[in-house]
Symmetry: C2
Subunit: 387 residues, 2 copies
């Protein structure tokens, strides 16, 4: 069976495809750069685990100086906690009686866990469930999730202050700060445009933090930021920690946002994540078929031709003139009309992925390698944990 015969392939040649590879040299360089940058800027770093869903990587980040990990959902947080990751911030509210019960159970096991909230009734439920815990008085850490133009949260300013007052009157919850993610800013193309957008929206979060403190409500944390804005948001007075995720791996999408150096390609971090496939059929002269389709790559972003390499003599080589198109759930097609060299059944073709987070979520493991040598196989233990 799969698990027993191929748990640790000696080399990338032996990795069963389609598979995700992570280049350890590039990953470690990205981790070193982000941790030292945040240290220099006197900001905490709590990288977002929704990107990697891999406890091994969360722990590697903590060893390098991260204060913990973010988790997008409660079930993702439960997996990280089970695997020994500490300092978890859950960035989506746990809604409903059963999820609140699970959240409080998690807080009782790991009291440093922080839960995002934006709804007074939900906070009351958490406090009541914490009060009802048998045998110990439990206080659950909460962060107010602010809506700064994107997705979830309560409006900054007065609405957030009102919720903070509700929290401050409840016995079994404790406000530790504000959660503010401006996802629409993170991918804005062009550094200056991105900086302006992020300053506008994070500015609302900073103002809200000041409003709370002026009103006598302690608000020690303001967490936010992304791979696209880490060097913008750390410079905004009043932010306290960053929660980027994609910097670990990078992807086609993030490479196109433009850097602070004015370059159209964003080069602050290296591409460490790739997907490897095998040519499984050559039905026609024009197309060859690889074994990766909708179930191996996320389809929410376009698949660019420049991200393709072919393996020759144990190493990936640039592979020009080839375009990828979907061949359905299980397959991809490579149009070979302009290809610089032919492909045959059994050849291995490697891709930079269009969008790292939802692609990682399709796979069960990461093959961590240096060059062609596989050093470890890391379970993506929180894959599918969207609940």
């Amino acid at each position: 069976m799969f698990a027993s015969t191929l748990e640790l392939p000696r080399s990338l040649d032996e990795v069963p495809t389609p598979a995700l590879l992570v280049d350890l040299d590039a990953l470690d360089a990205n981790i070193a750069k982000m941790t030292s940058y945040c240290r220099d800027q006197k900001r905490g770093l709590r990288p977002h685990g929704k990107t990697h869903k891999c406890p091994e990587i969360a722990k590697r980040l903590i060893r390098a100086g991260a204060v913990g990990t973010c988790a997008a959902k409660l079930s993702e947080a439960e997996v990280f906690a089970r695997e020994g990751v500490r300092g978890i911030l859950v960035t989506t509210a746990a809604i409903g009686r059963l999820k609140v019960a699970r959240a409080v159970a998690l807080a009782s096991r790991q009291p440093d866990t922080i839960f995002s909230v934006d709804d007074a009734a939900n906070v009351r439920e958490i406090s009541e469930a914490a009060a009802a815990m048998k045998g110990k008085a439990l206080t659950v850490n909460v962060a107010i999730d602010l809506y700064i133009g994107n997705r979830t949260g309560i409006r900054p300013g007065e609405p957030a202050l009102e919720l903070a007052r509700v929290i401050s009157k409840l016995k079994n919850v404790k406000l530790v700060g504000l959660q503010a993610y401006a996802g629409h800013a993170s991918h804005k193309q062009g550094f200056e445009a991105r900086a302006q957008l992020s300053r506008d929206f994070m500015g609302q979060a900073v103002e809200t933090r000041r409003l709370l403190e002026r009103s006598g409500i302690a608000c020690p944390m303001l967490t936010g930021g992304s791979t696209g804005t880490y060097n913008i948001d750390t410079k905004i007075d009043g932010t306290t920690e960053m929660q980027p995720g994609s910097f670990l791996f990078m992807d086609v999408d993030y490479s196109q946002i433009g850097g602070a150096d004015g370059n159209a390609v964003y080069r602050d971090f290296q591409t460490s994540l790739t997907a490897i496939t095998t040519v499984v059929s050559t039905p026609s002269g024009a197309d060859v078929v690889v074994d990766g389709g909708f179930k191996a790559f996320s389809t929410d972003k376009p698949f660019p031709p420049e991200a393709i390499r072919v393996w020759r003599d144990g190493a990936p080589r640039p592979f020009g003139g080839v375009t990828f198109s979907w061949g359905g759930d299980e397959h991809g097609k490579l149009n070979m009309a302009q290809a610089t060299s032919p492909l045959k059944v059994g050849d291995r073709v490697e891709f930079v992925v269009p969008h790292c987070d939802p692609t990682v979520n399709l796979h069960d493991r990461l093959y961590a390698h240096r060059g062609s040598r596989v050093e470890a196989v890391w379970p993506i233990s929180a894959r599918g944990m969207s609940q």
Copy 2:
């Protein structure tokens, strides 16, 4: 933790969201209709397991009369085999030394397994690996995968005959027939247009089968067909079995292909699969946010407004005037400007999924229900098995 506390929720209210639901009455009606149809048409039915990836459903189909299951990939087949499913046809070739070794090992455990092949070197490798098995003479069943206009396979006619001759000279492989999937025909809109396209392409497979038989090579099986062409391909003289998958669940995409009755909506099978989400934030008057995004739904097909229901008093109700848009990896947004009723945090919203196969592949379990009562939680054991 998740698995222990919520393994069998009593009702759909207790299912942690986002989650996939399967309506057992609708599923069983679909199974009964397809099995009786194929029986009447004197065709075998080997439904495609890539749709459900769920051994419980594969076994339910076999109990209803199916001859086995198809599997898209070797690792999917290994999971089905491990869970006791027999009669497996693997529809993508197992390429490379290590996958060939696994394929032969699977054949040795379950000798009725059939492997698709389209490459002479690959067939030779399989035969050699089978010959090298210790302690027993093994003959591996193979089907020639024909390229009939879509994805993988060898060209019909002479190229296929040539491969059949290679196979017939090898000692440890046995040709059991032809595999021919015209995926581009399955989703062609309009019954007559679809019928014409499928007849054209399946006709090439039928001709190839006759060519082999005229050349003295036995070719008992011709397997193909889909949910869109089951009532077309069963009527083509020379086909022997069908391999539809989506008829089990149905989805938005398949509902739009048009029926033999001339209706634009394809109503041969009932929608049994839905995804349920929870409203987790109401940041603005116009939008509410649910907890399902790119990681809960496949994004390869559009998300239509007519597929949305809201739960009230323990049952799903039609929910007009609401449109869905993506809120990223973890969230979806419902625009409420024209909504017929408001939504609040904690409300549950159910969706018909745009494309069933890649959506199922994102989830770990199916909640099998009748009305609001959950009867079983079925593991999607082959989820992620794309290797």
